[in-house]
Amino acid sequence: MCKLWTKLTGVMVMASFVVSDIALAAGEKASPLVIVADTRRLTGWEAWFANLYNESHVYFTLLTVITIPVVGVILGLIADLVMSHIGIDLKSRELAEH
C-alpha cells in the first residue's frame, strides 16, 4: 500500500512538471503546419493517392493502415508459392539430431 502511494505521488509530481512545461511552451501562437501534396505532375493511382491525402488525412491514414498488412499478406503468399516451387519446404521439418 505504501509503495502504491509512493508511486502515485511520484506520478503526480512528474505530471506537475509536464503541465508547467506546457505552460512555458504556450508562447507566441504559431500558424498550423499545413501541407499540400504536389500532384501536378502525377497521374493514375499516384495522383489519386496523393489527392486523397490532400482531401482527408483521416481517410488517407485509414487506407494506409489497412493497405500495409493486406500487401504484406499478399507478398507473403507469393513468397510461399515461389519457395515451394524451388523446393524449399517450410511446412514440415525433419530433426537432424539423434
Binding site: 500558424s31 503546419l33 499545413v34 501541407i35 499540400v36 490532400n54 482527408s56 487506407l63 489497412i66
Partner: protein, 203 residues
C-alpha cells in the same frame, strides 16, 4: 463471435474508405503571390506554368484569384506578396508583374555587383545576432541601386535602374511567397500551403 465482429468492422471501414476515395478528388495549383487581401479572404497568384518546383516558370496569365480556406486549420502561414517574377542574371534582365497593365514587364538593368553561391545562412544575407534573415530588397534611392537576394538562385545582386522605376512600391523588386493550393471548385482553396515558409524538417 468476436472474430466475426472484427471482420465486419474491418470490411465496413474498408468499404467506406473506398466509397469515399472513389468520389471526385480535387486538383493542385501552385504559384507566386502577387496580392493578398486578408479582409476579403483572397489571394492572387501567378501560376507556375511548368509545374516543376525545381525550375519554376511564373509566366501564366491572367493571374489566378483564390478564396482562402474558411477553416483556419487548413490555412498555412500568411503569404508575403511581391511582383518580381524572374531575375535573369545571364541577360541582366528582371521581369516584374505590372499591376497597371496586368502584364509582365521585362527591364534590362546595369549590373553593379553580383555574388554567387550565397546560401540562406550566409552572413551577407543572415543576421546571426538577431537570428533572422536580413531584409531584402535594399533600395537606395540616392544611388539608384537595388540589392536583391534570390534564395533559389543563391545569388546576391546589386543593380542599377533608371530613375523612373524608383517611384514603384518596394515589393515590386521582391519575390512573393510560393504557395500551393488544393481545390475542388475553381477559385476556392480547400487547403492552402505556404511553400516558402514551410519547413517540414524543422522541429
Amino acid at each position: 463471435m468476436i472474430k466475426k465482429l472484427s471482420l465486419f468492422t474491418i470490411l465496413t471501414v474498408l468499404s467506406s474508405v473506398f466509397i469515399f476515395a472513389c468520389g471526385e478528388l480535387g486538383k493542385v495549383d501552385q504559384g507566386r503571390v502577387i496580392e493578398f487581401d486578408k479582409e476579403k479572404g483572397t489571394v492572387t497568384i501567378v501560376r507556375d506554368k511548368k509545374a516543376n518546383s525545381k525550375n519554376p516558370d511564373y509566366s501564366y496569365l491572367p493571374p489566378v484569384i483564390y478564396e482562402i480556406p474558411k477553416d483556419p486549420k487548413e490555412m498555412g502561414q500568411e503569404p508575403k506578396t511581391g511582383k518580381r517574377m524572374k531575375l535573369d542574371t545571364g541577360n541582366s534582365q528582371i521581369v516584374i508583374f505590372d499591376m497597371a497593365t496586368q502584364n509582365f514587364k521585362t527591364i534590362t538593368y546595369k549590373l553593379v555587383e553580383q555574388k554567387e553561391n550565397i546560401g540562406k545562412e550566409d552572413p551577407l544575407v543572415y543576421d546571426r545576432a538577431a537570428d533572422k534573415p536580413k531584409n531584402f530588397p535594399v533600395i537606395d534611392r540616392e544611388k539608384k541601386t537595388i540589392t536583391i537576394y534570390s534564395k533559389r538562385q543563391k545569388v546576391l545582386t546589386t543593380l542599377s535602374l533608371p530613375t523612373e522605376y524608383f517611384t514603384l512600391p518596394d515589393n515590386t523588386w521582391d519575390s512573393g511567397d510560393e504557395v500551393r493550393i488544393y481545390y475542388k471548385e475553381e477559385g476556392k482553396a480547400r487547403r492552402f500551403m505556404n511553400v516558402s515558409k514551410t519547413d517540414i524538417f524543422k522541429k
